[in-house]
Amino acid sequence: MKVEGKRRIWKDYQKEIADDRYFYVRSCVRQNFFPASEKMFFRILKEELGKDIFENAAHTTCSGIGYHSDVVPFETTMTMVARQFALMTESGYQNFTTSCITSFGLYTEILETWHHFPEVEARVRENLKKATGREFDKPSNLSHASDVIYKFRKEIGEKARYRLVNKQTGQPLRCVEHIGCHYSRMFPGKGVGGAEYPYVLAGMIEEWGGEVIDYPERRHCCGFGFRQYLIQANRGYSLSCSKKKFDSMAPYKPDLILTNCPGCPMFLDRWQYTLSEMEGTTYGENGQGIPVLTYEELAGLVLGYDPWDLGLQVHQVPAEPLLDKMGIPYDSNRKFLNRDGQSMGRPKAPSFLKFY
């Protein structure tokens, strides 16, 4: 494989990412799946990088899940998105940053639609005005939160307390990067690195000392793909997608999987447990799984935040093997304590997946 070939492509897909004053919109589901990730994004931007980031409590779903599941019509979705832009405008911000990949894809799709069909934008403005009395400016810059972390990957790297290097061997950790489908597949030019070889997560891994693995099913869906999961009868397909990816990446012996979508880390993490229970198969070494992290969690680990404050204890695949490799200390006794130091209860150990 010739990495220079990828670098040539990456050069063609560099996007402008605002460097301050972000209006941040959360994901519908990430706080349940990975409870500290969005909070960590705030902390990194405010406390580590000294940036202005703001969110409006009136923000609601963008309706992306409903839209992609054919439950919410595009017209309704556009009006809801227009309302989010109105919240940004009312808050005095212009740089719109989304936590969710599907939201990012949807905002991109809607802005592109309005660009090509101004009459649609005019109609949506009218609908929003009638329904809520609100008006809005379109964002001057739209980014996904992983774009922002990518933009500041060097600054984070300079503050790093731990690097993506195996402390025992000195070798770079082998990292799988998995990009959410809605990040750049619809609009390659809107994602760092394009659609085929996205660089947004690979850039973080490289900067923080790791090695990126390219494996045959790299582009394959994680298994979420709304219809595959939301329709219960299709869940076997969801699982088979994830299995296909694990089988494909396992020969490369990855130390971690890094993701930038709400659904991907959820499914790549939880389905490892499901597959181990169904088939007795685990994909890491010695019965371990392959830890799956969000980019905020990884940035938090690199910066030296406590793994339990990052919420790694709610992952189905234990993160301890990764922490040990990176040389990150952790207190196993604190793993299942809540913020007040009270026990949250210890989950039942899986049958095959190694539990800590």
Partner: protein, 341 residues
């Protein structure tokens, strides 16, 4: 003495036209950007459909013009001035050449396969182009994988950069289908144990003996033709390639492991020709190739009197079409010079 005709491009179009004009007694000068004349054909091994050596055709064309036509290689044109009765071509080297007629025969460029990012050319070691296969055969070498082993399975991918809205090329490049059939047979000749698969949209076997060659590939050589476009290509740990496509005749997705992927790259307009178009105020079609003044009656003429066209500057063309077209252009130029006041 100034030449009567300046030809831009010493590929088969330029050389053929030069020979025909010289035979009629005209003084011809060819300006070529490369160090050697011969254009793309000079790089190719055997030609479809007969598989005669490309050098044979080139030698024949050269014989007609040798000693009668002057060729200036390594020339970069940076200006053309149209006067009342003639044209002056200015070069980056500071020289200038003046002639009464100008023939643009600057050909085409092969589609840059890197642009089909999902196919991994320039990234995966065993993804190569049809042009590279020609080079291997021309050098008398065996077609090998990047590890130097004999490929057991080869996939030829048709329409790379052609009939593809995603890369902005809606046109058919005309020669890739039959080139794919020819190369499939040549691979089987060289490596009888190798399985060869061709992934196509339509097999456009429009010209004489093309269909026969297509039949020969299937019946005699066992080449497997699968109707479906490649969706993506990835590299396995052993550097073999995993390709995903759809067999659109059975309506089933297909995943296959092959040792070598050959991309049949199409024609795109030569960027240098774009500069000539600007200098002379010519027009191009949506495909970027130069438009003649009339596609039926004046296919070798442009809207600028004294400026003529030949060959693949007007779009993808076979070698035999190009030779015929260049001869037609020579006749048009000859008549124009004779009737010129």
């Amino acid at each position: 003495m100034d030449p009567q005709v300046i030809i831009i491009g010493a590929g088969i179009a330029g050389l053929t036209a030069a020979g025909a004009l010289a035979e009629k007694g005209h003084h011809v000068l060819i300006l070529e950007k490369e160090a050697q004349p011969g254009g793309h054909v000079a790089q190719w091994d055997r030609l479809f459909p007969s598989r005669r050596p490309g050098s044979e055709v080139l030698d024949h064309i050269r014989k007609i013009m040798d000693g009668r036509v002057e060729i200036k290689p390594g020339i970069r044109i940076n200006g053309i001035i149209a006067h009342d009765q003639d044209f002056t071509v200015l070069t980056e080297e500071g020289t200038s050449y003046t002639g009464q007629a100008l023939l643009i025969a600057s050909g085409f460029r092969l589609f840059q396969a890197e642009r089909k990012e999902e196919y991994g050319y320039g990234i995966y070691d065993n993804v190569i182009t049809s042009a590279e296969v020609e080079t291997v055969f021309k050098q008398g070498k065996k077609l090998l994988t990047s590890k130097g082993t004999l490929p057991q399975r080869v996939a030829l991918i048709h329409c790379v950069g052609s009939r593809d809205e995603k890369v902005g090329n809606l046109y058919c490049s005309k020669v890739c289908c039959v080139t794919g059939v020819k190369q499939a047979i040549e691979i089987k000749e060289q490596l009888p144990q190798c399985e060869v698969f061709s992934f196509y949209m339509d097999m456009r076997m429009y010209d004489r003996h093309f269909e026969e060659l297509y039949f020969e590939a299937q019946k005699q050589w066992g080449v497997q033709f699968i109707r479906g476009r490649l969706s993506e290509c990835s590299e396995a740990p052993d550097q073999s390639l995993i390709i995903k496509t759809e067999d659109t005749l059975t309506g089933r997705p297909l995943r296959m492991i092959v040792d070598l992927v050959i991309l049949l790259v199409g024609f795109v307009p030569e960027p240098e020709t774009g500069k000539l178009v600007e200098m002379l105020g010519l027009s191009t079609g949506e495909d970027g190739f130069i438009l003649p003044s009339d596609e039926h009656y004046n296919d070798n003429l442009t809207t600028v009197p004294g400026v003529f066209l030949a060959g693949a500057v007007k779009g993808p063309a076979t070698i035999s079409n190009t030779i015929a077209d260049a001869r037609a252009a020579a006749l048009q130029i000859d008549s124009w010079l004779k009737t010129k006041p």
